[in-house]
């Protein structure tokens, strides 16, 4: 047999390490996030012992974390084959299948993992996630609850339960479970460590309450509606937020103190996350405060953008704003984002101009658009949400996947048609095509996971019907 070049430990010296000691080294590297190193160590082991199940499995995990999903799957499938139904392997491979959209395989392996290891709550947790994604919400809740019976301190299972309950509209219980999101180990902390308590809704007017504009920008737009309600209880407010959403928050409540740096935040008595306000408010599906429109474009900006748009729009053409992808770092981005190409049914709408509001790495797809409908790409020119709002003000409708632009149009009371993945974010509830959060939103739900073709077709059909020339543009505009 060919001698294997001697691998070395991570301590810089070149002392060869016996093969048997390599695996723990690799496992350490994986835990420490040194993925390339783990990868190379596992490569050495597998070169000599290509069927070593633990190494195959760990190499699969490393490959998965490196973003090489197909390779990960190959390694992990082989690990299961040679390792004969090891529950750990099954528990982990189901997550790879889920990521790749192979939900049947995910369900099969996750179920098998639970059968083999009925007392492992993590297996049940994974199964709960898969059921959620398959839109089997009752099953998802059952699995999460069962996992929590075994160990009620599992934040992931609580969070999964929260999402499922919220999606079903069982918000009272859902909000309580939703609080566990801050405990999830892998979640980025919302704010620096503090000894101050979380606000519980009590009123005080002598000290400052700190609000944290947490989660994505869409959440900030959606939950900022609660700020006036908070201000009635605690008039001295400080809001920690990203610079991008500052123009939005300024509109919500006059004189709001906004902070973009933690060290500038004044002393405060208690803090609350914007995403926690529905719980404190006691929001139910039937009492959602929806003071729409609560965001407005600046008239000066509108004048500038309207002139530009008018110049670029062929006479008598409708203007449909489109966004096809969200922020790629969102953990569900793979499911919620589409491609411009998936919007093909809109490309042949008669007398319609498409206006791209797409920002970020997917924006360059605009350059490859060759559809029939005129297409104007404002993505590169939009600098702030103020620009986006001004453009939205000049559009007939915004068609988007589940992104902040949808929230923006909706909060402005403009028609927003939002396309959702089969298993959507909890806030959009189940089945309905409207939402208690925003009166001008129309929801289009995916019927087959990760397939947008029929969804965009329904959107196009809807627009065609709506734009019927027999109906005048004034009449069809929804409330504003």
């Amino acid at each position: 047999m060919e001698p294997i070049p001697p691998p070395t430990a991570d301590n810089g010296n070149l002392v060869p390490v016996p093969l048997g000691e390599l695996f723990p080294l690799a496992a350490d590297c994986e835990r420490a996030g040194k993925l390339q190193q783990a990868n190379s160590l596992l490569g050495h082991i597998l070169a000599t012992m290509p069927n070593q199940p633990d190494s195959l499995h760990l190499a699969g995990i490393v490959a998965f974390r490196l973003g090489e999903h197909e390779r990960a799957l190959g390694l992990m499938e082989k690990a299961i084959e040679v390792g004969v139904d090891t529950p750990l392997y099954l528990r982990n491979i189901c997550e790879v299948y889920r990521t790749l959209g192979r939900l049947d395989d995910a369900l099969r392996t996750a179920t098998r993992a639970v059968e083999l290891s009925p007392s492992d709550p993590l297996c049940l947790h994974n199964l709960a996630i898969i059921h959620y994604e398959r839109l089997e919400i009752d099953e998802s809740i059952a699995c999460a609850e069962k996992a929590l019976l075994m160990n009620d301190q599992l934040p992931g299972a609580h969070f999964e339960l929260a999402e499922a309950l919220l999606l079903q509209g069982k918000w009272d219980r859902g909000w309580e479970e939703y609080e566990w999101r801050f405990q999830i180990a892998s979640a980025a902390p919302m704010m620096p460590k503090t000894t101050k308590p979380q606000w519980q809704g009590e009123a005080f007017d002598d000290e400052t309450l700190l609000l944290v504009a947490d989660q994505g920008f869409g959440d900030v737009i959606q939950f900022s509606r609660y700020i006036p309600w908070v201000a009635e209880r605690c008039p001295k407010l400080a809001v920690a937020c990203a610079a991008e959403v500052a123009p939005i928050l300024k509109q919500i409540h006059p004189g709001l103190n906004l902070f973009q740096k933690w060290d500038e935040v004044p002393p405060y008595r208690a803090y609350a996350a914007l995403s926690g306000l529905p719980r404190l408010h006691g929001t139910r599906v039937d009492n959602v405060p929806a003071p729409v429109p609560y965001l407005h474009a600046s008239p000066e900006k509108v004048a500038v953008w309207r002139e530009r748009l008018d110049r670029l729009t062929p006479r008598g053409f409708r203007r449909v704003g489109i966004v096809w992808a969200g922020r790629p770092t969102h953990n569900n981005d793979r499911r919620r984002s589409a491609t411009l190409a998936a919007y093909a049914p809109l490309f042949s709408l008669p007398r319609t101009m498409l206006v791209s509001l797409q920002k970020g790495p997917s924006a360059d797809q605009a350059g490859r658009y060759f559809g029939r409908a005129p297409f104007v790409n404002f993505g590169a020119e939009i600098e702030t949400y103020d620009d986006t709002m001004a453009i939205i003000d000049c559009l007939d409708v915004v068609v988007t996947v589940d992104t902040s632009v949808g929230h923006l149009a909706a909060a402005m009371g403009r028609p927003a048609w939002i396309m959702l993945a089969t298993a959507p974010d909890w806030r959009w509830l189940l089945e309905r095509s409207d939402t208690p959060w925003y009166p001008t939103v129309r929801l289009f739900r995916q019927t087959v996971a990760r397939q947008w073709g029929d969804v965009t077709q329904r959107v196009a059909d809807g627009l065609r019907e709506w734009f019927d020339p027999a109906t005048s543009p004034r009449q069809i505009e929804t409330a504003s």
């Binding site: 110049r311 670029l312 297409f375 104007v376 790409n377």
Partner: protein
């Protein structure tokens, strides 16, 4: 002594390099100090006049060794080298002569003619304009401008100068009349052109170029019988003449008599000393074979035609230049910078351009012919103006930088209107070209590859529709192989370079479209063929004009399309050129790879 000092100039003048193409003009002695050489120059002139060329040459070389700027000696040596056929040396000497003696009309005239003969119209124009400056009343000066403007696709300007020749000379020279006729034919004024050919031939019945031009006019105007009659006459006067036979083959091809056309070309080949065809004949033959379904032979002729063209013209794709320009454009036109640049305002007092963009052979002629059948859209054809602006820009904006970086001047307080000035220059040129017709509110500019300058165009004409004609790239490649065009840094001289340039330009367009909001509409050639009315309606909708049924009968639009596509656009929309590449997949392999496809 170093070798440079003794070396003879590689141009072949017979002078040392340092006295010829490597001359340092700053180090020249003042003309006064070499006046004693004047008698030598006079002797050289005398000798040359008497045919004693050896003596004349010797004297010129001696004089120019001491005084490299003596016009008389340069002139005589130029004539000697030219007579010897040493064109490189002749041109170098003539350029120096014009440089040192800028008011020398005959030399300027001669240089303009040489440059025009080489196809270097840009430089030829510079000298032709000088000729008019030197001698505004000289018919020949205007004749130069007439020829160069006609060749340079500005026939209205050319017509003006030809008519100046007629007025200044007080004569109706038959060759001039034929030149004017050719000019009018290029403007689509067929009847006027025909009458002038008639007058020219009545006065001088046996001038081959005149008769050939007339035959081409009739052929382009689909008067095939009249064209054949001219060619028959020429056959009798000049039996087996290659140019006449080539015209015959083209005519037979248009009449779909492919076998006969092929036989004529074979006969041309046979009478050539090497038994082969020239580049143009080879492409013609390839096109005939293609029509006949003999694809492998056709492609072999295309490839050979391109090879010969490269060999004869010396033109190869200017890869570096093309790459440099596209990189600079890509770096300049980015969203961040575009925010800081002004846009030209939109003029409402004159017709506005519709840009028909696309790679050569994409169907731009078809789209233009269709659109310009509309009464409110005038036909501008291939306007060289955007390209001209890229050259003019540094001067007009008083910038030390080139295009596109010269637009940095737009940040200066005194150049904020710079783009408006460039826009007005463009519109004024358009007006001078006489392309604007009564009732037109638009005109087309279908210069291929203008999409390279999409960013500039959008700054100059922010509201103008940008119609980008796209077509299956492999079909474009087949078409690029079967036709000559010089657009795009000579990329069409080889299959691979055509593919490279295509990719470069398409990537650049994608870049512009990602960085800017454009009034841009892509039109697929294939859709135009499939659904002509739908496509035309969509374009007119986009432009903002009402549909006009005349656009569908564009092949009855008698306006002659000057470009290589003229024969196709006079046929009803045809299916044959769609996915034509399927016959050539094997031959297209190098292009396919470059275009990022794979052969399935």
């Amino acid at each position: 002594m170093n070798s440079l000092a003794t070396q003879l100039c590689p141009c072949g003048s017979g002078l040392r390099t340092v006295r010829c193409c490597g001359l340092n003009t700053a180090a020249l002695p003042p003309a006064e100090s070499t006046r004693h050489l004047v008698p030598l120059v006079e002797r050289a002139l005398q000798a040359h006049k008497q045919g004693a060329n050896d003596t004349a040459e010797r004297l010129c070389l001696d004089v120019l060794e001491m005084a490299p700027d003596r016009p008389g000696a340069l002139s005589v040596l130029y004539q000697i080298r030219r007579a010897e056929g040493k064109m490189q040396a002749a041109e170098a000497l003539l350029r120096r002569l014009v440089n040192f003696d800028p008011n020398n009309f005959p030399a300027t005239n001669e240089l303009a003619l040489i440059l025009m003969g080489k196809g270097n119209l840009g430089e030829a124009e510079v000298h032709a304009r000088n000729a008019v400056r030197i001698a505004p009343q000289n018919p020949q000066a205007h004749n130069l401008m007439g020829m160069i403007m006609t060749e340079g696709q500005r026939p209205r300007v050319g017509e003006y100068h030809y008519r100046q020749v007629l007025a200044l000379s007080g004569q109706r020279d038959p060759i001039l009349l034929a030149n004017l006729a050719w000019n009018l034919k290029n403007q689509g004024r067929m009847a006027e052109a025909r009458a002038l050919y008639q007058e020219s031939v009545d006065a001088a019945p046996e001038i081959k170029q005149t008769l050939l031009g007339w035959a081409r006019l009739e052929e382009a105007d689909r008067e095939f019988a009249a064209a054949a009659e001219k060619l028959d006459k020429m056959d009798k006067l000049w039996p087996n003449d290659a140019a006449v036979m080539m015209s015959r083959a083209v005519l037979l091809g248009r009449e779909k008599k492919n076998d006969e056309a092929l036989a004529v070309l074979d006969a041309v080949a046979k009478q050539n000393p090497d038994g082969r065809l020239g580049p143009n004949e080879l492409l013609e033959k390839g096109r005939l074979l293609d029509q006949m379904g003999r694809y492998d032979e056709a492609f072999a002729d295309f490839a050979e035609g391109k090879r010969l063209a490269r060999e004869l013209s010396g033109h190869v794709y200017l890869d570096q230049q093309a790459q440099e320009l596209t990189n600079r454009l890509r770096n300049f036109f980015v969203a961040g910078r575009l925010k800081t640049l002004p846009r030209a305002g939109v003029r409402t007092d004159v017709p506005q351009p519709i840009f028909v963009l696309g790679f050569p052979r994409s169907g731009t002629t078809l789209v233009e012919q269709t659109l310009t059948a509309h009464p409110r859209i005038a036909a501008g054809d291939e306007l060289p103006l955007i390209n001209d602006i890229t050259h003019l820009m540094p001067r007009m904006l008083a910038s030390p930088l080139g295009y596109p970086e010269a637009m940095a001047e737009l940040w200066m307080g005194d150049q904020r209107a710079g783009l408006d000035n460039l826009r007005d220059w463009y519109l004024q040129k358009v007006e001078q070209m006489g392309i604007l017709t009564e009732g037109a509110v638009w005109f087309t500019d279908k210069m291929p590859l203008n999409e390279t300058h999409l960013g500039l165009i959008a700054l100059l004409f922010p509201e103008s529709p940008l119609i980008h004609v796209i077509r299956h790239p492999l079909d474009i490649m087949v078409s690029a192989m079967s036709n000559h065009f010089t657009h795009g840094f000579f990329c069409s001289n080889a299959l691979e370079t055509a593919a490279t340039h295509y990719m470069r330009v398409m990537d650049l367009v994608q870049h512009y479209r990602s960085e800017m909001a454009l009034r841009y509409m892509p039109i697929r050639y294939e859709e135009m063929v499939d659904d002509q009315e739908g496509t035309v309606r969509a374009i007119l909708d986009f432009v903002g004009e009402a549909f006009d049924p005349r656009c569908l009968a564009f092949h009855e639009n008698r306006r002659y399309a000057r470009t290589a596509s003229y024969a196709q656009v006079t046929e009803k929309l045809y299916d044959r050129s769609r996915f034509r590449h399927r016959h050539y997949l094997e031959h297209l392999k190098p292009a396919i790879e470059r275009l990022g496809y794979s052969v399935d």
